[in-house]
Symmetry: C2
Amino acid sequence: MLNDFFYAKNIAVIGVSKDSSKVGHVIFRNFIDSEFEGSVFAVNKNADIILNHPVYKTVLDIKEKIDLGIIAVPAKFVLKTVEECAKKKIKDLVIITAGFEEIGNFQLKNKLKALLKKYKINVIGPNCLGVYNAYTGIDSLFLPRSRLKRPEHGFISFVSQSGALGSAILDFAAKEGYGISKFVSYGNGINIDESDIIEYLGKDNHTKVICLYIEGVKDGKKFLKVCKEVSKHKPIIAIKGGVSEAGNKAALSHTGSLAGTAEIYKGAFKQGGIIEAESLEDLFNFARVFEKCLRPKGNNVQIITNGGGYGIISIDALSKYPLSVAKLSGKTIKELKKVFPPLVIIKNPMDLIGDADTNRYKLAIEACIKDENIDILFIVLLYQTPLITPDIIDMVSEYKDRKTIIVVSTGGEFTEVLAKSLEKNNIPSFQFPEKAMKALSKLVEYYNPSLKTSKN
Amino acid sequence: MLNDFFYAKNIAVIGVSKDSSKVGHVIFRNFIDSEFEGSVFAVNKNADIILNHPVYKTVLDIKEKIDLGIIAVPAKFVLKTVEECAKKKIKDLVIITAGFEEIGNFQLKNKLKALLKKYKINVIGPNCLGVYNAYTGIDSLFLPRSRLKRPEHGFISFVSQSGALGSAILDFAAKEGYGISKFVSYGNGINIDESDIIEYLGKDNHTKVICLYIEGVKDGKKFLKVCKEVSKHKPIIAIKGGVSEAGNKAALSHTGSLAGTAEIYKGAFKQGGIIEAESLEDLFNFARVFEKCLRPKGNNVQIITNGGGYGIISIDALSKYPLSVAKLSGKTIKELKKVFPPLVIIKNPMDLIGDADTNRYKLAIEACIKDENIDILFIVLLYQTPLITPDIIDMVSEYKDRKTIIVVSTGGEFTEVLAKSLEKNNIPSFQFPEKAMKALSKLVEYYNPSLKTSKN
């Protein structure tokens, strides 16, 4: 049902101003600058040429069939524009324009709603940023690329009730090198709501994880039903805005959402199989682990490190979650004793010490991969020590399909470059052990729900 | 007492190998590459010239008085080297060399200890990275600058029982643009321990905040006494490695520390006035706020934002801590109503909405600075929107001496550049609201200890 929002071939941007700072203009320019392979048409009653492209007076002047219309005209022209789109048989619209119930204009909202019903038009919006698909270049975000870098394509999709929040997060994801599949800011959600989008993403092959920022939901029953179904085969991670009393009040001013208390939401999230993130940062950390990691067979974690202190704070972090300190098998210990210098500590954490090189890590990883007592490898890799060479990235990456692996590296530019390479090779790489362990625990809980309450 | 470790004029590096990968060589080269204005002398029995510098057979061959010796000879030569240093009347030594009690060699440890007592020599180490002073360029870290970037000078000092952990954190601080004053990795702490260093930093004018990573303390009573005294006028923020049972065991293998249970340490930290950080990241986040922020008069926080969702998650975060949602005075509301467009929400959070520019922020900040109901400004500044121009950095920075201000900006490269500028102007800038609020709460608690338990 929502396919045209992400895969349309012919798109009309309606309300493309000559003024380069205006919303419609920015959207049109973003299409021209993107790798979008379809055709994009500019519509504006009062212009002939914009950015060297012909401008159509109305959508009706376009000869080609239009799969998706993006409306950025002032609120007072929206109804008329929708009528024209209906005549042109456009079935799917993103309405960027604000000025409906969020400012108290319920009359306009109701008229629009009736119109959409009459013509059976699907709308994302109004009062939103709309859609972004990293695979096709479809992009209705009205923020210039110089301000908001678009992330590369990956398998995390993000649905946000708040446009500004969503765009800040996209920009952040782009910088960090996190891959995104689809992004939707659905604003007032006049006839497509969060549940419809989640349902669609549940079936989308380019989406492995669904992330959600919501302040409230339109239809709680529908939301729960959809999430329950989707979360069975695809993780849904959500952050709820307005969980506090003060936040609840603020949400009412922001999106008109009756946010509900923290307890009600916690219960609903649990029922819907939704993984709750307590912070925006956690949201992405959890998502990356789900996107990239192999499904862990159990909760036995082996820590490998080249810094003793990091091993200790990692295991301290582990102890906060329903994760278990793996016990190396006698065979593994015996094998490693043969090949390691005497100062290496063959325990958990396994401390390869400061002079560890790629080969010592390889020996350790190889042994742990073979050891059936271990389900997950938590590798601390401090790149500051001189014997660590960049070939360690490819070495570690080779094991990604053999066991669940997560890497932690704290440091500066050298570290950042290597960490991003790992991330590109589909090994999630974290700056700090505490966060990595938290994210890992969510992965383990999702695939082994019985561990949630019991703790080894 | 510890002054020469950070302000020595003449330094001897003892054990400077010709091999550029060896510890002594790296340390000597780091001195040459640094802005150290004193004189550095290389000592090695078997070389004449290294890196175009003359090499002395022993410290006794150096004519100049030596204020600080840095020893990087193999363990078996340490005692003899110390004897020579004693003859040369060097009173302060950093002993980098490992191979003492941490590998079970208690005999060597005891001999060294006796020797130091006999000659009244102060030692940092052995088995450590030693010292770094960003102001003088004194730097015994044996990690090359290509791997471990040195941070700029600032007012945060960091004491770490773990060398690798400390160096990773320094490298991270350098990348993020956080200023460091002094760093000490004291290893086995043979006669200078964590308490001595904390006491020294307590009196150091270049240190505003003391950060600590410890697995255990040598002398609990002394530690508490010193921390109690120092924390009265200077915040001490600590992260404790080995708080879990498994971590405790690992700490025993790592630094031989009997880490003690979490409860005991929590109690001791409280008694010593120490602010506990639960993660490495928190450690720095707390430190930056203490380093840069004005002392808040109370706990009334006003949130100003250009993204509604961010306002909501900020206030949700606020609600977790003993912070209070400030109530704008009637006068402020009246004034702002006159100058703001109708869609701006003049509440808390104050939502300046997506088309806010520098001037709208200025009006909001100015009014909140004047409003006596407000102690702290928590400013969300999303740089993705086109009307935000870089002059906003200087505008916000102008208010830094008028009230406690903290800024949150999530985003990509454009955001990062502007956030770093703010940080340079002494306004702490965070990527995510949850962390910023947490750090802020520590600041408020430190200056208003009565708020710790009560919650508005």
